[in-house]
């Protein structure tokens, strides 16, 4: 993921601020800052003009819009229709024999389902692994990194570029990326040290290799 403007931190900040200034939810200070930045940055000015046009285009009414009164009329009819709650009505009408048959089928289906899940989970996760069996772990030099939530995309990209790392997996559920040296594994230890000393990196741990 690369940032769409070849520019510094101010342009990144301006890019992030534009939607909120346009929808008038940014603070007056943020609005004033953006105005100042736009006055001196042609790229951001063009971007803001396009964003303004986008907002204008999105504010046009839907076309064709269905008739509101006709739609409301149909909704009110639906509230009155007995078919609106079909399931309980049918259930009440059914005899006890039907219900008993449905219950029996459901119990059987449940049993088959549980059996299926058990068989599937037993097959997918082998209970043991021999020591000689090759591990499916990550390649040598792979590092798991958790950047701080406040870290900007530009800083993250710059850091990866500087350390010659590339993301090979992630982010996972806790926001951790798996990164690996772009060229050779020899720089991995050095990269790990530098990651740990970088501000904005919450955690950097080597991924265990066989």
């Amino acid at each position: 993921m690369t940032f769409p403007m070849d520019s510094g931190k101010d342009c990144v900040r301006a890019w992030e601020m534009m939607p909120w200034v346009l929808q008038d939810s940014a603070t007056a200070e943020q609005g004033a800052w953006l105005e100042g930045h736009l006055a001196q940055c042609a790229a951001c000015r063009a971007e803001f003009a396009q964003q303004s046009r986008l907002r204008l285009a999105l504010s046009l009414p839907a076309q064709p819009a269905p008739d509101v009164e006709a739609g409301l009329g149909r909704l009110l009819q639906r509230l009155d229709a007995p078919a609106a709650t079909p399931a309980p009505a049918r259930a009440r009408a059914a005899g006890w024999l039907n219900r008993a048959l449905v219950a029996a089928v459901l119990v059987q289906a449940l049993g088959i389902g549980i059996l299926g899940v058990k068989l599937w989970s037993a097959g997918s996760a082998p209970a043991y692994r021999t020591l000689s069996e090759p591990s499916q772990s990550a390649p040598a030099g792979t590092i798991r990194v958790v950047p701080d939530a406040g870290m900007t995309l530009a800083d993250w990209n710059a850091l990866l570029h500087a350390l010659r790392l590339q993301v090979v997996a992630g982010p996972n559920d806790v926001g951790a990326y798996t990164v690996a040296p772009a060229s050779s594994a020899s720089t991995a230890q050095q990269a790990l040290q530098q990651l740990r000393s970088t501000r904005g990196i919450v955690l950097a741990e080597p991924v265990a290799t066989p």
Partner: protein, 194 residues
């Protein structure tokens, strides 16, 4: 949140309370008040004009049933847009996501109702939205069209704020690359900025 938003949320909450007591007039007021933005939102999500009314009615059917269980954890508009989003997704699963540009009636309607400038703007937007996923279109509509915050969009789409941020970022990058720029045009809206 603006004062206007606060006022409208107070009104919406009162309407929901009345709906919980079976007041259909309150349902009518809420329906009319949200019809425009729901049409636009569901049009962007489903891109199928023929199903919009059905989805809006599904949404208000659920709102009518659940009005009494609204606890005020979010604004009513956020709650209602969330119901509309899920109803729209259900319809998408049934009908599929297809652009409406092949519909010849669309051109006729556009010609009949639009000013030239509006039509040009719609065409420009349509070129960009065609390249976005349904979720990216939804985020763009909710942020730029309706004016929701990232937190509110996360509630509506039931996903982490980080996911909304990423969708907004990717959608903006795609639109930036796809939509013809405004080269040669003066940045006329810069002056209008707050």
């Amino acid at each position: 949140m603006h004062d206007d938003d606060l006022d409208s949320d107070v009104t919406d909450r009162l309407l929901l309370q009345r709906m919980a007591n079976g007041d259909r007039a309150a349902l009518g007021i809420l329906y009319r008040s949200y019809h425009g933005r729901l049409c636009r939102f569901l049009g962007r999500l489903t891109r199928r004009p023929e199903v919009i009314e059905e989805v809006i009615n599904d949404c208000f059917w659920i709102a009518w049933q659940k009005a009494g269980s609204f606890h005020g954890d979010s604004r009513v508009s956020t709650w209602l847009m969330g119901i509309a989003y899920r109803s729209g997704l259900k319809t998408l699963r049934q009908h599929g996501d297809a652009p409406v540009e092949d519909d010849p009636r669309r051109e006729e309607r556009s010609a009949a109702h639009d000013l030239d400038e509006d039509r040009e703007l719609r065409d420009w937007l349509s070129k960009g939205l065609d390249r976005l996923s349904a979720d990216q279109r939804v985020v763009i509509e909710l942020v730029y069209g309706v004016g929701h915050s990232l937190d509110e969009v996360a509630v509506i789409m039931q996903c982490p704020v980080g996911t909304v941020k990423a969708r907004l970022f990717h959608a903006r990058v795609k639109l930036r690359n796809v939509l013809p720029g405004l080269a040669g045009e003066p940045p006329q809206r810069t002056e209008a900025m707050p």
